[in-house]
Each structure stands twice: as C-alpha cells, then as structure tokens.
C-alpha cells in the first residue's frame, strides 16, 4: 500500500449512489487537504470502478472474493471493518438504501463508532476532525445536528441528496485488499431480481403518484394515460405497493425520494412518511375527494374532486390544447 490513506471512505454499493457520495466526500476531503478512498466489493471489480477518479476518488480498495459475489451483511461487515481499521478515516459514507441501513450500523457497532442515519449534510472540523452530521428526524418533519463522539463517523446519506461532481482526470490508485472473512452464517438460497423498466424514477421529470384513493379496477390505466401524455412515470405510496402489487417500490421515508418538475398526487392522503418522498418536487398537484385532506396543505395546486372524473377531464384538456411539459 502506498501513499496516505484517505480521510473519507465511500462504500460503493452501486455506481449511482457511489458518484453522489463521492461529490460530498471530495468536498469534505478538500477542506481537510485529504484524500478520498472508495471500497468496492464483489467477485470481480465492476467495470465502472475505473472511472471513479474522474468523480473525486483518489484510491480504490477492491476486494475480489467469491464470498462477496452477492451482498450479505456478515461477510461485507467483516471486510469493511478490517478495511476501516487499516485506513482509519474520519468519515465512512454509505447510501441510506436497504443494504446500507442493514450494514452500516453493524459496522459502527463493531468499531464502537457513532452512526447517523438519514444524513443530508456533513461537516468535518479541519483541526479536530470532529464530525457533525445533519440528519432528517421524525419522518422529515425536522432536521437535527449530531456530533459524532467516536470516529470513524459512519454516515448513512439519503439518496438523491448530494450532487455528483466531475473532477477532471485524476489519478486513481487501485489497491487490492484481502480481508479475513469469517461470518458466513447466513446462506443465500435464492435471489430474485426485480423487473425494472430501465428508467429510474429519480430521473423522471413528471411523476404521477398513486395513493389508496385510486380505484383498483380502472385507476391504474387512467393514471398511466396521464403519465404517458406528459412523458412521466407512475409511482405509489407504501400501502398501495404492499396491498395492490402494482409496483414493488414506493415513495417515502422508507422508499424512494423523487425530485421531478411536476408531481401529480392522486388519492394520496398526505402522511408525512409519504410526503418526504415527493417533497423535492418543484410543483405538486394533488387531487383528492376530501377538502380536509392533509395533502392539500403540502401542494401548490390542490383539486377537490372525484379523481376518476377529474383525471380523464385533465387528459382531455391537455390533449385539446396540445400541451406538454415545458
């Protein structure tokens, strides 16, 4: 191993989340005059890893091991804890995905470190290396500032929060790391990937968000027509996802967060746990049959109507005027 280890380590779960975390990691490292490490595990090193130098990484630690072929908390925790002990950064950044959230606290527990969930910002004191993290609390009702008392500060960053930043060509040092992996108690018997449409909801410019107020029989077709007309994508609340099986994923605190130009919420009640998923939208239109619905206070334009009458009327007006998203 050559050179000085980084002060910030990014755990690369996927290319998308890694580039976002690198944007923040680079910013922190620059204030410290320090370097950024990335940890990437797998049976072999993903091809995209070699472009990470252009996104702010100084060093890439790869662990190539058949036991890390699929994500499993036990072996991944073993490998990452050993790497963090070796490199001793002030901050270890994870994406607050389901995988991140089951692994990062366990890594922190083994290191005796502090862990902050749902982070939206991070600051490291250049003198003391004290880490302060801002995180969402109470389903996004508030933001709290935390001082991490024991480094490395293990931080779970909310996806879609930090911006990726291209850094120009930078040398990326690649270091093959070989940890001791002992925890293999959980055996994976079968993995079933979800069918994806190929378009990321996070990239959608229009999102039509379906709540329980949408009729089961014909609501989906109606909403799809509206989404197609505006070049948008459909999404839903957690209860709709779990009870109707229309979509495997949902928007909200425990699901995805989107930031389209326009979000049209249909029959969505407006529970705070869901609102946090659409709060980043530039404009929110809500359609609900109750004038007391909480969603109306969270929207730019609210429509109190039977959405099964209103949406076809809306489609008709948009078509008649030949409108599209500006």
């Amino acid at each position: 191993m050559t050179g000085r280890s980084g002060e910030v380590l990014v755990f690369a779960e996927s290319r998308e989340t890694c580039l976002e975390l690198l944007g923040k990691a680079r910013e922190i490292a620059d204030t410290l005059g320090a370097q950024v490490d990335v940890a990437l595990f797998g049976e072999s090193t993903a091809a995209w890893a070699h472009e990470l130098g252009g996104w702010g990484a100084d060093r890439l630690y790869t662990v190539e091991d058949p036991r890390l072929a699929g994500f499993s908390v036990g072996p991944y925790t073993d490998a990452l804890v050993e790497l963090l002990k070796r490199t001793g950064p002030s901050v270890a950044l994870f994406a607050a995905t389901k995988q991140g959230a089951e692994m990062a606290p366990r890594v922190a527990a083994r290191l005796g470190s502090g862990c902050v969930s749902s982070c939206v910002d991070v600051r490291v004191d250049p003198e003391t290396r004290c880490v302060e993290a801002q995180a969402m609390i109470y389903s996004g009702r508030g933001v709290a500032t935390y001082l991490v008392k024991k480094n490395p500060a293990v931080l779970l960053a909310v996806p879609n929060t930090f911006a990726r930043k291209a850094c120009g060509a930078r040398g990326l040092e690649v270091v093959a790391f070989q940890p001791t992996i002992s925890d293999q108690r959980v055996q994976t018997l079968e993995v079933r990937p979800r069918a994806t449409e190929g378009r990321r909801l996070e990239d959608a410019r229009v999102v039509v968000d379906l709540g329980q107020g949408v009729r089961e029989a014909d609501g989906l077709t109606m909403a799809q027509e509206l989404a197609d007309l505006l070049g948008g994508q459909l999404a839903c609340t957690r209860p709709v996802s779990s009870e109707r099986g229309w979509f495997p994923e949902w928007l909200g605190l425990s699901g995805k967060r989107v930031s389209p130009r326009l979000c049209i919420a249909l029959g969505v009640s407006g529970a705070i746990q869901h609102i946090i998923g659409i709060r980043g939208s530039e404009f929110i239109v809500a359609v609900d049959n109750s004038e007391d619905s909480a969603i109306l206070t969270q929207s730019d334009f609210g429509v109190v109507a039977d959405l099964h009458e209103f949406v076809p009327a809306l489609v008709e007006v948009i078509k008649a005027r030949g409108l599209r998203l500006a």
Binding site: V73, E102, P105, G112, G114, C115, K149, L189, V285, A326
Partner: protein, 267 residues
C-alpha cells in the same frame, strides 16, 4: 423456542406540530403508542410460538407508561411476559445505547433462540437498533423479513432488499427484523386484554436490574444531538373545488401554463 419481541413505545409522528416563527418542533404533549411495525414484530413472534411452541417475551426501552401499551398490545396479542426497561433519558440517547440496554436485558432473561425487531422505529426510524443489537449479541441478522419458517434449527426467511428479493437460511440463534408488509397483526379482544392482566409485566430499572448506571450509558453513547429545527414547507396551497371536473381541469391547466410548467407545442 424462546422468542424475544423488541418493541418501541413511539411518538406519534403525525401529531408533531411546528412553531413556524421559531422553527421549533413542538414535542411536548405529542401522544405515544406502540409503533405500527411493532405490532408486526409481535405478530411474527406469536406466530412462531404457535407453530413451534415455546414462549414470547416482549421487551421495550422507554418511559414507564409503556407498560400499559405492552399490556394491551403485547400481552393481549399473545406474549407470555413483558418487560419495560425504564429509560431515564426518555429517548435522548443514541441507538447504540438502546442496543446496549436491550442486549443486557436479553442476557438477563437468558436463553433466547430468536430475537425479532422492527426494521426501524416509527418515530426515530434510524434502522440501527436491530443490526447493532445483533452485533452486541454476536448473532447473525436477517433484515426486512417478509416470510419466515423455522426448519431443523435454522430460520429460512424471504426478505425484500428493494432491488431484489431473496431467500436465506441462518442457524439459530439469530435476529430478524420485520416490516409492515410482513403480516397482518391480530387485533386483541377485550377478553384477550383481561387474560393479559394475569401475565407477568415488569418495569426494570437500569441500575438496579441491569447494573448499568445512567451516567455510564450516557458516556458510552457514540452520537450526541446538538440541536434540531423544523423543516418548513412553503407550497402555494391553492385549492380548486366545487365545480364540474372539466372546469376544474381547465383551471388547473391554466395555472400550470401560467407557472411555465406546461407549454403548447406545434404538432
């Protein structure tokens, strides 16, 4: 099989109000209840007991009032015993402290085969306590379990990881976390509640019962909250109503055109 169900007497987050001028979160007087996911925790534990025999022990770290919720919910749903370890900091410490207290209480109760937790609490939602507790116990964990069976000393579980789902097997003892989708919690009847009153329900003190001094717990906390403020949402809140759908549609479209969200295009 000895089964632990770790539950939380949570703040009802929907009831948290905001003082807009000061950006303060108004937490005083916010009602508390056993969290939604905690009922799925209890349902999972009781179903395991019904399928494999044994006993269910509900455990929480919280205020003394949690006792009543544990009686009406946990014991009435079918837990055999409930223990509340009284939190002198009333939720003010970090998840590492909660995990340390739960681990200590589980050790005192002794001999568990499986510990069931919610994926995250209703109010703090850190997702940390389950994994941290598993690490304290030195046990493997299986998070986000949708379906579970115990076969030949192993847990076989179906779990949902977002981008994919998988079936895993892990030898007992193990910790699992469940979600609101895992099952439909049973609703206890009045008779269940009356029967529950005969079951053991204890309040434990940190120092007297677990030998943990509040000062040492505070000292060991790895994260300290410095402050918080409300997120103020300022949407226009323009509401259109009381007209035929076609009129409302025309009005909405006009507003979206005025705001530059929609525009005409030449066919």
């Amino acid at each position: 099989m000895k089964i632990a169900a770790c539950v939380k007497y949570s703040l009802d987050v929907a009831e948290i109000r905001v003082d807009v001028p000061t950006r303060k979160l108004l937490l005083t007087g916010v009602p508390r209840k056993l969290g939604n996911v905690d009922k799925n925790v209890l349902e999972t534990a009781v179903m395991l007991k019904e399928a494999h025999g044994g006993s269910v022990h509900a455990l929480g770290f919280g205020p003394p009032e949690a006792k009543d919720a544990l009686l009406r919910e946990a014991l009435a749903m079918g837990a055999d015993e409930a223990v509340v370890v009284v939190d002198p900091f009333d939720g003010g410490l970090d998840p590492s402290a909660t995990a340390a207290v739960l681990a200590s209480a589980l050790a005192r109760m002794g001999g568990f085969d499986i510990v069931v937790c919610g994926e995250a609490s209703d109010d703090d939602s850190t997702y940390q306590v389950g994994p941290r507790l598993a690490e304290s116990l030195g046990w493997p964990q299986v998070a986000y379990v949708r379906d579970i069976a115990v076969e030949g000393g192993c847990v076989v579980a179906e779990r949902d990881v977002g981008a994919y789902s998988e079936r895993v097997s892990v030898p007992l003892p193990a910790l699992i976390t469940v979600t609101e989708e895992t099952n439909t919690p049973r609703r206890p009847t009045l008779m269940d509640v009356l029967k529950a009153k005969k079951k053991p329900l204890a309040l434990w003190e940190l120092e007297a019962d677990l030998g943990i001094t509040p000062a040492s717990l505070q000292e060991a906390a790895t994260v300290k909250q410095l402050g918080s403020e409300a997120v103020i949402v300022s949407r226009r809140q323009t509401v259109l109503w009381n007209k035929p759908a076609s009129d409302l549609a025309r009005e909405l479209v006009e507003l979206l055109v005025q705001e530059g969200v929609l525009e005409g295009h030449d066919p």
